[in-house]
Amino acid sequence: MKPLASAKELTQLRDKIQAKLAKQEKKIQVKVHLGTCGISSGANSVLQAFKQGIKTNKLSDASVLKAACIGLCDREPVVTIEHPKTGKTTYYDVTKDKVSKIIQKHLIGNKVVDEWKLDTTDPLLKLQEIRVMHNQDLDPMNIDEYIARDGYQGLAKALTQMKPDDVIAEIGKAGLRGRGGAGFPTGTKWTFVRNAVGDEKYVVCNGDEGDPGAYMNRAVLEGNPHSIIEGMAIGAYAIGNVRQGYAYVRAEYPLAMETLNHAITKAREYGLLGKNILGTGFEFDLDIFPGAGAFVCGEETALLTSIEGKRGNPRQRPPFPANKGLFDKPTTLNNVETWSNVPQIIWKGADWFGSVGTTSSKGTKTLCLVGKVNNTGLVEVPLGTPLGKIVFDIGGGIPKGKQFKAVQIGGPSGGVIPIANLNTPVDYEAVTALGAIMGSGGLVVMDEDSCMVDVAKFFLQFTRDESCGKCTPCRAGIPKMLAFLTKITEGKATMEDLGTLSELADMVCQASICGLGQTAPNPVLTTLRHFKEEYEAHIIDKKCPAVVCSSLFKAPCSGTCPVGLDAPGYIAFIKQNKFDEACRVIMQRLPLPLSVGRVCPHPCEKKCRRQQVEEPISIRHLHRFAADYAFEHGFEYKPEIKERKNERIAIIGAGPAGLSAAWDLTHAGYQITIFEALPVAGGMLAVGIPEYRLPKNLLKKEIDIIQKLGVEIKLNSRVDDIEALLKDNKYQAVFIATGAHKGDKMKIPGEDLAGVFDAIEFLRELNLGKKIKVGQKVAVIGGGNSAIDAARVALREGAKEVHILYRREKKDMPALPDEIVAADEEGIQIHCLTAPTKILGNNGTVTGLECIRMELKEFDTSGRRTPNPIEGSEYRLSFDTVIEATGQRPDTSFLGGDGIGTGKGGTIVADPRTLATNRQGVFAGGDVVSGPATVIEAIAAGQRAASSIKRFLRGEPLSPLVERNGYKPIDVPPIPPTEEELKERPRVPMKEVSTPDRKDSFKEVALSYSPTEAKKEGSRCLRCDLEVGE
């Protein structure tokens, strides 16, 4: 190849290659994408398979080509087929076995294999704007293909039609900002270097992409190397007096190094690097410097020192590299992606570049979307794209139905952005305002299973290891900070330590000499800012809410359970046929084993480690089995109450919170009286949950046991005067646990019509045996458990048709998934994205609903999209009964003038950790304090109250740590699972009454395990309690 002697020759060459490619396009082209991810997923063998298959089938008009990474790392190997008859098709997860079918059906049969093809309307592709990665369907090892795409035209234009100042002005006008981290305007940086005095200057490319969780530069180096070379040549021309450039590429990227090296050799051959480029007399050459593995070398002065062949210690600034850089000469250092953007800005103009992005952050940004997200990989989006759109639309949301928690952006120098900020546009200013930095664009998604303190610790371990040691704040400050974090994760820290940690963080930020130290505390500072409650949980409650910090829990299931129920313990007993012992383990912690085994939302199962093998074990079903079996076979729970005390405690409300407080206090020997306004005990378990989910005779058995222990329950006894209870020392302490029994109204017209109920009232009246006339066609409004309960009850009360109307999507319904499935099975129709605007009536009676369709818009602070009415979409439906199930709240009107503080939604204000109210000796907990929550949380609140009351009566200070009821823990056999038990197998399903049988009956739907089934399911337990406890 003779070097190109002019811009004209370049254009001629381009046209020639384009013509050749156009001919090729008439034939079948198989392009195998060969990035590092593709190769490690077997792309090379796919390439070979295609070559072989095409040869065997004698397909003379098909060619197999190599292409760059398209960013779908999770779906590699990826193959694009360009076929004259079917157009362009992209296949993912291609294996050798799939190749022969693709050849037969698609290449020969002209039919796309639809089931393996990537849907081009998928938001993953549709919402992207591919610019930097525009060469991804071309062979990066072939310079011709780059030239065919107007490659090096930007350089030719700059050299022949523009003065250096014009080039800088164009870059400035485009508003290009540094893509490596801080977002400094590139045009300004170049001006500084151009204006610096010196007849020898350098341009340097920073390819030391060291942020864990970021590899977009690798993709550009591997996929579009000529864009970097061209960009650097343009920069060299614009700055002037530059004859040599360096590309610093990290040692961990061998393929990137090879590709860039090849590209440089080719560019020299074509006369696009070297002396007299394109015959213009302009001279510039480029050399690669292989990094040797030091994160700090991503910092500009450290990188330059490293190129000089020394330890990569950063230098004090000023002087800035613009004046004294590489070998003390004026130097501009830009990131890979920044350089890669330059040619297109010059060729297509600043206006084209600014056509996407925001006013201050123009163009696109490549991002690495990794971590707990369905579509992991490399994406390129316009700057300013909302974070939620990136995670949920492009990223496809969180795997396994888990809850999104935060995004870590900008690597160890960046920070976390929490769920409340999903609408944040990803641009330089907005991200910085939240305490993070854009960094090079690593976006690590974290879900409910990530502990934010542990995340901060992870990053500090990283920066501690990577600190060069030159300045003391960084070298000594980071390990000190890490020591505090370790103390926190071990539950040994105090709140004072947290203050010291913040101070230390500020000091390290301010006093370190380079970017590494200055930003190292960011992960700590942002987690402290957005997740302070997680730090407090570790410090005050000695709990890790995400159950990650292993010093703070025995097993993930019991660590998650609000009452710390020892699931591995009772499961171990089930496996040994010791069903009574299993039940005893449960009853040591709570008085309602039969009920909880039926209606608990089992947060434990979400954390079960068995899901790493296949799926979580059925912890709740096993709990229920143990309780059912023991109670059916004459099990008697007889605790030994050591001493009877004289102090008397009044508990208001006989729901799960009240009963569990009574249980713990009576075990400790106190005299308990429970006042219950309703004619039955059990609270929501008695009057909220329908019979088919929880048979009332079972609840009665549990309450009988509580009464047998000496707890007095006064039914039909509404308390109106708290002070009267405390007067004359009648009771020494009071616990208010009256729940949340008042249904919310939607405040729409027609709520006073006959035939309109609120779900809480509806369920309560029916549970108390009262008659309610349910019509033929029933509408239930809402998506929670009460809505499903009301709907299923209405069906059993004789309704012919039951409809649930919910304003969001089905996946957003707060009801338990099992319950939603059951409602579906029973023929209840669920209408989503719809909301009633008016209840219609005639002569004072309901005749129907006027509804409006909803659409989901921005994210709310809980991470769900806000439903907004679609104007003009109103429609009407006829109903004769309407049940509102849109919320419930406590009724605290009984407090009257007692002076006990109330707060939002009618709740009582109590310290969340000690449950103390503003009146000494009066405690409150459960739904009346928290608002509607789960039965297991109510039980936990009861225990917390009991613990505080015991301390109060002993005259001790209250403490956030719950004092258990003083029983000697039962020794659980420490038998680890066998090899056989570790083998993959699904959970044992629980039998249910068939649908036709259950619709008219209130008989319990779910049937208990048999002992054989229970033992089989129990043998799936991994006994994490043994592992972690060691």
Partner: protein, 170 residues
Amino acid sequence: MKQLKKPTTTKLRTEKQLSSKTLRQIRKIVEATDGRAGAPIRVLQQVQGLVGYLPPEVLKTVSKEMGIPLAELYGITSFYSFFSLVPKGKYVLQVCMGTSCYVKGAERIMKTLKNDYNLEAGGITSDRKFSLEQVRCLGCCGLSPVMAIKENVYRKVKPSQIKDIMTSYK
């Protein structure tokens, strides 16, 4: 990375004479790199590629050939994680500890290697077949957790697969 480089089960080899062949090759590397920016790092990378690691006798030779004090070379080799002063196993097993791998459970891989092979970061198996490096992001975050042996990157590694992977290396 620095503190990870301390060997747990091996000691520095006692110094010995380099073969004349190695010496010749080192000289050639030094000559070829003469005048290029960052020569010491480039030379050390290539010499390590040749010898496998950088024992004292090799560093001394490079120091003499390049005219750079040994202390300076030692400073460089101990600074960059790419360089190793101790021999490595026949296969170097790299476990990525990047953020994405960490979130997806790289710790469990490390734990399995510790429990089943008594292999810790910076250590080597008793048969010298595998040494273990905890490495910073390998840039395969889309496939995490990731582990690499030679050029082979293993994607989405589960602890249960480690035995099969390790026995596939003879």
